[in-house]
Amino acid sequence: MPWLSYQKALNRALADELARDPAVFVLGEDVRVAVSNVTAGLFKRFGPDRVLDAPLSEQAFTSFATGAALTGRRPVVEFQIPSLLYLVFEQIANQAHKFSLMTGGQARVPVTYLVPGSGSRTGWAGQHSDHPYALFAHAGVKTVVPATPEDAYGLLTTAIRDDDPVVVFAPAAALGVRVDIDYDELGPVPLGVGRVHREGGDVTVVAIGHLVHDALAVAEELSGDVSVEVFDPRTAYPFDWDGLAASVARTGRLVVFDDSNRMCGIAAEVIATAAERLDLLAPPARVTRPDGAVVPFALGLDHAVQPDRGRLTTAIQKVLKY
């Protein structure tokens, strides 16, 4: 079977949706020459009316997409840098997201915001390294953070077909992940349905995005002593609460591994909901970025604020002591 990289999966999903639905178009910076690689070949294949290079006017082209969506198109807006989402938070959270309710259901805004390279890319410092998926989940914007190539394909496809705005975070640390897969097996993945990557009986590790791969590595390392279940929600919002409940019902213990800042991150919400609803044998733990983290430049400093395998191992050992 052929190898499929995460990055190629995004490219393939875009190409397949552009070919399938004439309403789909791609808009962003340097998308014709595909600086981020995910739009490679699309300009040549689909032409300038489907693959639009925009000037560096993120706010305008994000709302331009809203206007196009209100009149029948399905735009995909690419952002090269995750922090650009702060610049367009008004255009997404306060405009695109609110049209459906504010118009009493007259309008829909099927825009996909794609960030190929979210989170730290190591060495890109304070303004290029954020991972603000919790911010959009908090605002109620559908938010997906695929971990694997097949889920990247499936969730981007679903995002494009969804009638609401959806933000797709493709973590930089996951872009190189490859799987050996039959391309015919690729297909849409529903929003709000998690995935158990590894079954276990002692502790549930909820891991998001690229951290799924670190969680699987830790689970393997610890497998002689501890049976770790790795649960990947795949979408930060809507969250698969039933999937979480089913996993914790099997294990009774919970660790959340989340590349959000600690305050009001996804881990905070998962643990709050678990405390309200689930029976836990031990207090839960979370491994996150620190409160209000600004990723520092120097390599050692950058790593110091990332959730990592060592901290996850410590957290798992801690919850198992009860």
Binding site: P55, S57, F64, G67, Q95, L101, M102, G104, G105, E276
Partner: protein
Amino acid sequence: MVRAPDTDVGLYRTVRLIRRFEERAVELVRSGDIVGGIHPYTGQEAVAAGVCAALRDDDMITSTHRGHGHVLAKGADPARTLAELTGRATGLNRGRGGSMHAADFRLGILGANAIVGANGAITAGAAWVARQEGGDQVAVSFFGDGAVNQGVLLEAMNLAALWRLPVLFVCENNGYATTLTVADAVAGTITGRGAAFGIPAVTVDGMDPRTVLGAAREAVDRARAGGGPSLIECLTYRFDAHHTWEHRAGVRYRDDDEVRSGRERDPVVIQGTRLTDGERERVDAEIESTMDSAVAFALDSPHPDPAGALDYLYATGMRARPGGGW
């Protein structure tokens, strides 16, 4: 309500309708039937009437927090618009939008928008789609003088000019961004912002519906023919408050002399003098009857069911977790 034709009677009917709509709406704010207040459009009627008279039914507009005039001039039903302002289930937006978000997509009204300067780029996107589909519709972005200092609006002008989109940028310069004067807020000129992008820009008397119509026709014709966007600065005057809270708050930023002289040129009077007494009286009577029916319709309409407070949050029908627990 059918959009008025671009005749003198039609223009008068629109400005008179907007004037009486706003006066009745202010009464409903005072009686407590409209909560949250409104931004009255009184005094600026010639802009909405003149621009929308130059449009076709399939053209599109986006509007502002001070948007009732635009929505009515594009043909929205006054009764359902008033029902929206009073938060009723029969409102244009089923009571979910209110004064600042009135929309009627079937009429090309892509929504009033409560963030100053936000609608320009949305309008550009809609105009692009029309052009892509081979249509010759135009899209109008209405905004005030306050919006000309918003970066996103200037970005939208750049996009519209760059891609020769059929957009009319219509600036209603009423002299004040809430309380801040244009002199204290705008460096350079408003038309200069258009000129910077190569967008034809004119300043016109925004108190005369005929003058506005003339300028709008020229811009619309150019846009339909593929000539790209235009900017029309309409000099106008807001007769009433920025927002009805001012009626009680006693904020002072315009002295009485200024308001008196600003109100001397009244678009309803200016257009009214172009009709015979008989024509004018007939239109006035028709508008009174329309507004009486609209008020009755709004106040007799049901309130939306609180159980459906978050209906339409997602176009897909996805339900959000309730706030009160699992």
